[in-house]
Symmetry: C2
C-alpha cells in the first residue's frame, strides 16, 4: 500500500505540533520535528548545536552573505547549508516510509512525491495567545509578541526557500482553523482527508 | 438545533460552485449564488439587470467615484449600493435558516454569526484549465486568461470590502485543494468539518 506522507505548516500557537504528533500516533507512523534536525546534523557533519539558532530563521545572514560575496566566491553560507542538509534528509526520510513532518519547507522538499498531503494549521489570535499562556507559561503580551515574531520568521523562511507563499491556501492541500475545530477534531479531519485522497 | 451556515469562496475553475450545490443538497438546505443577487435586487428596488455587470467586479468605479467626489457629495456609487444590498440580504437569509452561500464576501457579512463555517476551494492551474475546457467549453489559453482575470476580480472585491485577504488560509475555517481530493470527496470533507464543529 502507498506510503502516508503528511507535512504540516502552522502558525505559532495554533497547536500544529500537537496535531502532527497525534496524527502520527493515529496512523502509527513516525513524527519529525527537531529529530529531523538531529538527523540532518549527523548526515552533514555539522555539529548539532549549530543548527539550533538557525532553525527556521531565514534570510538575513544569507542575503548578507550574498551581498558580501561569500556565496559568489564559492563558500556556501551556513544557514543555506543547514537548509540543504534538512532538504536532503526530508527526502530520504519520506523515501524510507510513512511519516509526519513539521515545518521546514517539507512540502517543498517533497513536491514531486504524489503521496504527500500538505496541511496548514492556523487559529485566531485569541486562541493562539491562550495557548501561549497555557502551554508555554507566557503572559498575554509576551505571547502575542512571540506569535508575531515567530510567524514572520517562518513566513520569510518558507517564502525564501520554497518560492511559494506561507499561509496562502494554495500552498497546501488542506488548511484548518484549529481555533474553530479544536486539536482532536483537526486530527480526525486530516485523517479523513488523507484516507479519502488515497482511495 | 443550530442552523448550518456555510460560505464558500473559490478560485475560478476549482469546482467551488458544484461543491456548494452538492453540499446544500447533502444537508437539504438552500444554495445561494445568482439567486442571492435577485433577492438583493428585489429588496433594494434596483433593477435586476443592473446587478449583472457589477457582480463581484469591484473597486475601480468605486475608487473613481471617490476621486471625483460623488461619494463625498452624498450620493452612493452604484456598485457600493449593490454591495450593501447583497450584504443585508445575506444577513437576512442566514437569519431565516440554514444555507450555503457562494462568494460575495458572505463570510464577512456573517462574521458575527457563530454558526458560520467559511470554506475556500482552490486547485492547481492544470485542474482548473481542464475544468474550463470541460465545463465551459473554452480552449486552454482562453481558460487560463479567464481564470487569472476572474480571480483578480474576486480578490480585489473581497480585499476591498472585507478587509481580509482573499485566498489566505487565515480568512477561512477550512481550505481544500479540490484538485487533490475531487469534488465529491471535498463535499464529504466539508460535511465532516461542519458536523464536527457543531458537536
Amino acid at each position: 500500500m502507498d506510503k502516508i506522507i503528511i507535512t504540516i505548516g502552522r502558525q505559532y500557537g495554533s497547536g500544529g505540533k500537537e496535531i502532527g504528533e497525534k496524527l502520527a500516533k493515529e496512523f502509527g507512523i513516525p513524527f519529525y520535528d527537531k529529530e529531523l534536525l538531529t538527523e540532518a546534523a549527523k548526515k552533514s557533519g555539522i555539529c548539532k548545536e549549530m543548527f539550533e539558532p538557525h532553525d527556521e530563521k531565514p534570510t538575513n545572514s544569507f542575503l548578507y552573505s550574498l551581498v558580501v560575496g561569500s556565496y559568489a566566491s564559492g563558500t556556501t553560507p551556513l544557514n543555506h547549508k543547514l537548509f540543504l542538509a534538512q532538504f536532503e534528509t526530508i527526502k530520504e526520510i519520506a523515501e524510507k516510509g510513512s511519516c509526519v513532518i513539521l515545518g521546514r519547507c517539507a512540502d517543498y522538499a517533497l513536491e514531486d512525491n504524489p503521496n504527500t498531503v500538505n496541511v496548514f494549521i492556523h487559529a485566531d489570535m485569541e486562541t493562539r495567545i491562550s495557548r501561549g499562556i497555557e502551554y508555554y507559561g507566557l503572559d498575554a503580551k509576551k505571547a502575542e509578541d512571540i506569535i508575531i515574531k515567530t510567524d514572520k520568521q517562518r513566513s520569510s523562511y518558507y517564502n525564501f526557500y520554497s518560492g511559494k507563499k506561507w499561509a496562502e491556501a494554495e500552498s497546501y492541500d488542506l488548511s484548518i482553523n484549529s481555533g474553530k475545530l479544536g486539536i482532536d477534531k483537526s486530527v480526525k479531519l486530516i485523517k479523513a482527508f488523507v484516507e479519502m485522497a488515497r482511495k
